[in-house]
């Protein structure tokens, strides 16, 4: 077994790109070791790691060479291989000589051609690595590539050196024309000297002495521990923030953390602003007290294990104070005007070229919200929800849209219900986001999202494939998430009604074009609903969802969930399975057949048939009532109770008789039974497991 070590020294690679690069490399290198004939083992023989300016990998167990193998080589036709006296011809001798073989090596029997077996020596691992490593490294795709020098190559950043070592010896390769060696450099400013390395272990040790910690996990761990101690000294704990940690570990080669302070006066600014500036703009971690209160201390990453002169503490304070000073300026400027007075400005802010400005959008949101509720606090929120888009604060910190409006509304003394609705109305954005805190927020969010969806569908800007520039899939998903909710925030409106109201607010008459649009939009929602329900905690199976959706969902999503739940609860009952089977049989028989409009009692020929008909009549009425009471489980149970009678019918009565009137009447009977629970689910969509059925 041999081991191989590789380092690519580059210029600083963006922090957010490392993890995807690791995964891509790991996959390629695992394939490489597999191709080389790496024996299966418990330990992954491939290690990939990186620092801001190094990509390294280590293959710990690779065979010294590929396995030898044999290959058949075809020579001249046998006819041309021997002369009349049976002696080898020139052609055969030439072939043997070329392949370094003797006449004894010929394969005898079969075929019209001379053949020999050639022994192919497996290539040495080094030879293969020399070919494959450059391919793997050079073909790594980065989200944003650049060219350098004369622009011959495209990569994440210019490359500086390559280390390539196979079992302690240099294995020469070239990456983008740059020849490898066995030297690298230490930390950029703390230990910039050249370092000779002989192996992976030697590399890790020497780099550490030269102020580079190779393992990203370890860098993170060191910083987390340091952060905890520093925050503790300031009487708090560092905010838990995975996105900051995953950036920090790729922003430093020699991990360190510094604590700095901002001016205590700035604590009077909205907390969301302070946290956004620190987290998003400065990649800093706020420190909170045990009670969760923000302190004026915060943490920042260092590419050094300490800050001996306090320079980094000073610099970080300086820059954060500068940012906060700006935020304070925006805040004070903004507070000179009320949100209500900003509505006019919204008319200068375009929502979408063909869909008008944000004042128009706000009017539509209000109109849609008014169709759901007449609560004045909710409608006040709808009226103001977009006004923060013209504040200085949101122009600077766009990610705080909604929040800023909510904060300003709160400071203007508006009711909690109103300001929280403004604050929350973009929620939920992602599938795991919380819903708006209040029903008012849910209503405004729904109104905003359905307006956007209908609007973009109207102007033909629908998502295609992976392209969804206006995030319409997310908007639809948000609508579904809100409508599925059943707690005190629940909004009881169907998606079809929402679409109608939104079409009205867009002043669209009902005509074939808008009906088509509505159908398209409902189709668009179907996918979102299915996806969300499959991923939900309900644990619904695909066929249960499909069956219940077939019976409609447009007027209520919570009702859909109830129906799926009933189907799910029933699906393992033997009677239910039996009747599902019958329902499928009915569906198959009646498909494309002429069915009588109603059952004619005079045409019920035998006792079994009559019994089933009267049972069906009674049961259908009962089921209808139960569905009316939304007692879906009982309705399905009642349906299932018909199973034995139906089986007897199938055993004793011939449906496909020649007498057309008779046939059509039997079809009508079966159809009546088959459609008894059509309002709950299309049960024929349930996939029945035969084995279950037999038990």
């Amino acid at each position: 077994m041999a081991e191989y070590f590789f380092e690519l020294l580059t210029e600083e690679i963006p922090a957010w790109m490392h993890e995807a690069a690791h995964a891509a490399l790991l996959q390629q290198l695992t394939k490489l070791t597999h191709d080389l004939g790496e024996p299966a083992g418990d330990r992954n023989p491939v290690i990939v790691n990186s620092t801001p300016r190094r990509i390294i990998f280590f293959l710990s167990r690779i065979p010294l060479r590929e396995n030898d193998r044999e290959e058949e080589v075809k020579g001249p036709p046998i006819k041309a291989a021997y002369d009349a006296e049976g002696k080898p011809t020139q052609a055969l001798n030439g072939f043997l000589k070329k392949n370094n073989a003797a006449i004894e090596d010929l394969i005898t029997g079969g075929g019209d051609y001379i053949r020999i077996l050639r022994q192919i020596k497996g290539r040495a691992a080094g030879e293969i690595l020399q070919q494959r490593i450059p391919q793997i490294v050079e073909s790594l795709r980065w989200p944003k590539m650049m060219r350098w020098g004369n622009g011959e190559h495209s990569y994440i950043r210019p490359i500086h050196s390559v280390v390539s070592i196979l079992d302690g010896a240099h294995l020469p390769i070239t990456i983008f024309g740059l020849a490898s060696a066995t030297t690298t450099v230490g930390h950029r400013t703390l230990a910039p000297q050249r370092i000779e390395v002989t192996s992976y272990n030697d590399y890790v040790t020497k780099l550490e002495l030269n102020r580079v910690v190779i393992d990203a996990e370890r860098r993170r761990h060191v910083m987390a521990e340091r952060a905890r101690i520093l925050a503790n000294e300031a009487g708090g704990t560092p905010a838990i923030d995975a996105s900051i940690w995953s950036q920090w570990q790729y922003l430093t080669e020699y991990p360190g953390v510094v604590r700095a302070e901002f001016g205590g006066d700035y604590l009077a600014l909205p907390e969301e602003v302070l946290v956004t500036v620190m987290r998003v703009h400065q990649k800093q971690l706020p420190i909170r007290t045990a009670a969760g209160k923000l302190t004026s201390s915060f943490l920042a990453v260092l590419d050094n294990d300490g800050d001996p002169d306090g320079n980094a503490a000073y610099g970080n304070s300086f820059v954060t104070n500068a940012r906060f000073a700006d935020a304070k300026f925006f805040y004070e400027t903004d507070r000179k005007r009320t949100l209500e007075s900003r509505r006019d400005q919204l008319s200068h802010l375009q929502f979408q070229e063909k869909l008008g400005n944000y004042l128009q959008k706000t009017d539509r949101i209000e109109q849609i919200a008014a169709a759901i509720t007449d609560d004045p606090e909710t409608l006040a929120a709808a009226r103001l929800c977009k006004t923060d888009l013209v504040t200085e604060m949101v122009k600077e910190f766009t990610e705080l849209q909604g929040n800023i409006g909510g904060i300003y509304a709160r400071e203007e003394g508006m009711p909690e219900n109103t300001w929280q609705a403004v604050y929350d109305h973009y929620l939920p954005i992602n599938i795991d986001d919380a819903l708006p805190r209040t029903r008012s927020g849910a209503v405004v969010s729904l109104a905003d999202k359905i307006d956007t969806l209908v609007g973009f569908f109207l102007v033909g800007a629908r998502p295609t494939g992976s392209k969804d520039p206006f995030a319409l899939r997310r908007a639809a998903q948000g609508v579904v998430q809100i409508l599925l909710n059943r707690d005190k925030r629940s909004v009881k409106i169907g998606i079809d009604k929402l679409i109608d109201v939104a079409l009205q607010s867009h002043e669209q008459p009902s005509n074939p074009a808008t009906q088509q649009l509505k159908a398209d939009l409902l189709g668009f929602f179907t996918e979102r609903i299915r996806t969300l329900l499959e991923a939900s905690a309900y644990g619904f199976a695909y066929d249960e969802i499909a069956a219940a959706m077939e019976a409609g969902w447009e007027s209520s999503l919570t009702d859909l969930v109830d129906r799926i739940a009933a189907v799910k609860a029933m699906r393992n009952e033997p009677n239910f399975l039996s009747i599902l089977d019958s329902a499928k049989r009915i569906a198959n028989i009646t498909a494309g057949q002429q069915i009588a409009a109603s059952i004619d009692p005079s045409k019920l020929e035998n006792a079994v048939e009559s019994r089933l008909a009267s049972l069906a009549a009674v049961v259908s009425t009962q089921i209808e009532e139960m569905i009316g009471e939304r007692d879906y489980k009982r309705a399905l149970e009642t349906f299932a109770a018909m199973a034995p009678e139906l089986e007897t019918f199938f055993d004793e009565v011939m449906v496909m008789v020649d007498d057309e009137a008779l046939r059509r009447n039997r079809m009508a009977l079966l159809h009546k039974i088959g459609s008894a629970v059509a309002g709950i689910a299309d049960v024929t969509k349930i996939v029945v497991d035969r084995r279950e059925y037999r038990t």
């Binding site: 600083e12 060219r147 350098w148 020098g149 260092l302 002169d309 320079n311 700006d326």
Partner: protein, 306 residues
């Protein structure tokens, strides 16, 4: 920690880059938003001619004005701009040496290169690079130019832009830009504060909107006129004037979102035409800077001069 004045910092940077092969240019005498817009960067990065230059550029950003009230933000600040073409492979090390040259002991500071890509839609230009953080504070923008005027560049240039006020504040430990020393005992505040106040008031409240729209059209027309006459450098100056007028209108709140896209496109169209014409004009001249001192080529294989 060196306690440098504003002008000390300029001198040290100029000296450092002059010693490392840069021609020290002078600021462009047209109002621009950044050193990038100086022809010494925007036009020189085009084509095969080598180019190394450094210069101070007053940079006007009308919307950034704060009436002299904000200790960190200015409507006009000064950049020290270095453009290296082609970017040498050790350009990051050179940059770090320039920090050492202004007196920083880098083992006692935190220096980081964090991704920050640059894009100037009105110039049809973009590049990738970093903001360089000194102790957590952005002091420099570093960009590998990839495209300018819509033209893919080769060779690739590096642009290094130092924020001079920021750096001076930090190095002299001043909490406000108005407290730094410009030089020879003159303070930045007494020298510049009136300027900041008046221009903030002008750009935000006073600038005549109609007149600026008229100016925009006139400048645009003249730029096109110059381009039609194959006078690319004057055309480019008029383009820059358009750009500044646009920034003024924007700060004045006179550009609606719809107009914005259209106006930016008009500036971009001019800049793109300028870039193409400049490249063509340099080619017509035989790319003179391939032979920077204008002497006959030493290598006879390159050919005799006409």
């Amino acid at each position: 920690m060196p306690r440098l004045s504003f002008q000390d910092l300029i001198f040290r940077l100029q000296t450092f880059w002059a010693e490392h092969g840069c021609m020290i240019e002078t600021p462009l005498d047209v109002a621009v938003g950044a050193g990038t817009m100086h022809p010494a960067t925007f036009l020189r990065v085009l084509g095969p001619e080598p180019w190394n230059a450094g210069y101070v550029q007053p940079s006007r950003r009308p919307a950034d004005g704060r009436y002299g009230d904000n200790p960190f933000r200015l409507g006009k600040h000064y950049q020290f701009q270095v453009v290296l073409k082609p970017a040498p492979l050790n350009v990051q090390d050179l940059y770090l040496d320039s920090l050492r040259a202004i007196g920083l002991d880098l083992t006692r500071h935190d220096i980081r290169f964090e991704e920050d890509n640059w894009e100037a839609p009105t110039l049809g230009a973009w590049g990738v690079g970093w903001q360089i953080l000194l102790d957590g504070m952005e002091i420099t923008q570093f960009t590998y130019f990839q495209q300018a005027g819509g033209i893919d560049l080769s060779p690739i240039s590096a642009e290094i832009t130092y924020g001079l006020e920021r750096l001076t504040m930090f190095l002299s430990r001043r909490a406000s830009v108005y407290d730094i020393e410009w030089g020879a005992g003159f303070g930045y505040g007494p020298v510049r504060k009136q300027d900041e106040y008046e221009f903030s008031k002008y750009y935000f409240e006073t600038a005549d909107i109609d007149m600026h729209w008229q100016l925009f059209k006139l400048y645009e027309k003249e730029a096109q006129h110059c381009l039609d006459e194959s006078l690319v450098l004057p055309a480019y100056e008029w383009t820059l004037k358009c750009s500044h007028v646009f920034n003024t209108l924007d700060a004045r709140g006179a550009v609606s979102v719809t107009e914005r896209v259209g106006v930016m496109k008009r500036v971009r169209d001019l800049a793109v035409r300028c870039a193409h014409q400049f490249l063509a004009s340099r080619e017509a001249l035989g790319f003179p800077l391939l032979n920077p001192l204008g002497n006959p080529p030493a290598n006879p294989l390159i050919g005799e001069r006409a």
